[in-house]
């Protein structure tokens, strides 16, 4: 596994197979926390953090627990449990060890528990048969892609605040239209990296 393929994997996860804009995972926080740039950045960092760690942990759970005992059919439930527990645990640890980081990420961490992007990354790792390094890198790339999408969305939505949007479309509808248009634009990246 070369450095080049690692870079390509990250790039692919950020631009071409962006979790939000191409795979439509994690739409809930994408719409929910993209009103302001500051909170979008915080959420993005928190998701990247959790995605990376959970990719590692679920890889271990899958390779050393589920596979040896033939329990792959419990994959989804196991991953959900692991991720939920992990998030809570990370929250506790951060609160104790790094109050500054906790303050930045803290309020977003509980939200991530139910973020399907985290589960999605874990599942894709298994599906594609990524090894530990690839899983970690993929988790990181997916998180960065999520952050990018969130920041772009937040930038546009901050501008929408000043727009004279028709009443029926204000709020969530225009957010979804915006998300759709951004996603359409991201299709421009299609096919850049062969998988």
């Amino acid at each position: 596994m070369s450095v080049e393929s690692v870079i390509l994997l990250v790039m692919s996860a950020i631009f071409i197979n962006n979790f939000v804009l191409a795979k439509f995972l994690g739409i809930c926080p994408f719409i929910g926390v993209s009103r302001q740039l500051d909170s979008a950045l915080g959420m993005g960092m928190a998701v990247t953090f959790v995605l990376t760690i959970s990719s590692v942990v679920t890889w271990f759970v899958h390779s050393y627990l589920l596979v040896p005992y033939g329990l792959e059919f419990l994959k989804t439930i196991a991953f959900i449990l692991v991720i939920a527990a992990l998030v809570q645990f990370v929250e506790l640890v951060l609160k104790k060890s790094s109050p500054a980081l906790y303050k930045t990420l803290g309020i977003y961490l509980p939200l991530i528990t139910t973020n399907c992007a985290v589960l999605g990354a874990a599942s894709i790792n298994v599906q594609k048969g990524y090894n530990l390094l690839m899983s970690t890198v993929f988790g990181l790339g997916a998180g960065l892609g999520f952050t990018l999408a969130l920041i772009l969305m937040a930038g546009v939505r901050e501008r929408l605040e000043e727009c004279n949007i028709p009443k029926v479309l204000r709020g969530a509808p225009i957010a979804f239209i915006t998300a759709g248009l951004i996603s359409l634009a991201f299709m421009g990246f299609a096919g850049m990296i062969k998988e």
Binding site: G155, I165, L181, A185, M192, I193
Partner: protein
């Protein structure tokens, strides 16, 4: 001495003199400068081009009218922005022979442009995405075969149909082997790549508004001289596209050893939608940064993305995607380029 009454006096806020440049004037002038390119396409590829253009413009204007009536907003058809959007949508439609491109494609593109990309966000000045490009991309994915097949040859000139200059580039780089037999790939790649002169004059298959670099260059220069369009975006966009295609263009070619600095920048600059994009799309006031520095960054981003998509993407043409992708980043770019406020050491608070 002329008599007057106090009622004759109009009270208004200062300033009482203004420059003459007005939005409707701008829209109509921009539209007018596009006409030569479209007329040329009509001459080279036949009258269907003009039918498609009329359909796109009509759909845009009618949609604008319908929406302003529906939302009970001030009528804005006369400001020319819908007309121009329709015209730009048409420019992004493939020039085909009579009846080949179904008319619902430009019509839907125009409706999408006006209704979704523009009026959903509040109308003129409020949209963050270039409406015409949003419409184009929408129908591009909706009717991919119609948008990418059926390139017309020219009844008037010796233009061979079926592959645009950028398609040829893809063939050469071996990225489009799937759909083509090896033999025809070689034929297309080796023998039919148009000369720079043909590209400049527009004697090559392509979209309605993009084929003739000469006509677009002329229109663009007029707009720059009239101060309607800034010079920094077209210049940076075209220059960066040339630079990056020169550096990286050679890497993607097959049949030679991949090496840097062997690309053909002129081919890249003159082909595809670059001229149209650089002068008419990337310079749209509404969806591009307001500051000089921001515009440079914006145009640089457009150039990089255009070359990236052309050389490595599965999409043949990168201009529309590049511009729309950069449209998304405009609010973020604007944050980086805030003028220094007089009497302070910093820009505005972020």
């Amino acid at each position: 001495m002329i008599k007057y009454a106090s009622d004759d006096l109009v009270v208004s806020a200062a300033p009482h003199v203004r420059t003459r440049l007005r939005v409707p004037l701008v829209m109509w002038v921009v539209s007018a400068t596009l006409l030569p390119a479209i007329a040329w396409a009509g001459y080279v590829f036949g009258p269907w081009v003009l039918v498609v253009t009329a359909a796109a413009v009509l759909a845009a204007v009618v949609t604008e009218l319908a929406i302003t009536l529906l939302l009970r907003r001030p009528q804005t058809v006369s400001d020319g922005s819908a007309f121009l959007t329709g015209l730009l949508v048409a420019c992004n439609m493939p020039a085909t022979g009579w009846g080949v491109l179904p008319l619902y494609v430009p019509v839907v593109a125009s409706i999408f442009a006006i209704a979704v990309a523009k009026h959903a966000f509040g109308g003129l000045g409020q949209n963050w995405i270039n409406p015409a490009l949003a419409g184009r991309i929408f129908v591009f994915f909706a009717w991919l075969p119609a948008m990418t097949g059926g390139w017309a040859g020219s009844p008037a000139f010796d233009v061979v149909s079926s592959a645009t200059p950028l398609n040829l580039l893809k063939f050469q780089s071996g990225m489009m082997q799937d759909g083509l037999q090896a033999g025809s790939q070689a034929v297309l790649g080796m023998r039919l790549a148009p000369s720079h002169g043909d590209l400049f004059l527009g004697l090559t298959p392509g979209c309605i508004g993009e084929i003739s670099a000469a006509a677009l260059l002329l229109g663009g220069l007029i707009l720059i001289l009239l101060r309607i369009v800034n010079w920094e975006i077209p210049l940076t966009y075209i220059a960066s596209t040339a630079l990056f295609s020169w550096i990286f263009g050679g890497l993607a070619m097959t049949g030679q050893a991949p090496s840097f600095f062997t690309g053909d920048p002129l081919y890249h600059v003159l082909s595809g939608g670059l001229m149209l994009g650089a002068f008419y799309m990337a310079t749209d006031w509404v969806t591009t940064p307001v500051s000089f520095g921001g515009r440079i960054v914006f145009a640089l981003g457009c150039g990089i993305l255009t070359v990236l998509i052309r050389l490595t993407g599965s999409n043949v043409e990168g201009v529309s995607f590049a511009i729309v992708l950069m449209n998304i980043t405009v609010p973020l770019i604007e944050r980086m380029f805030v003028p220094r406020r007089f009497g302070t050491s910093e820009g505005r608070a972020a």
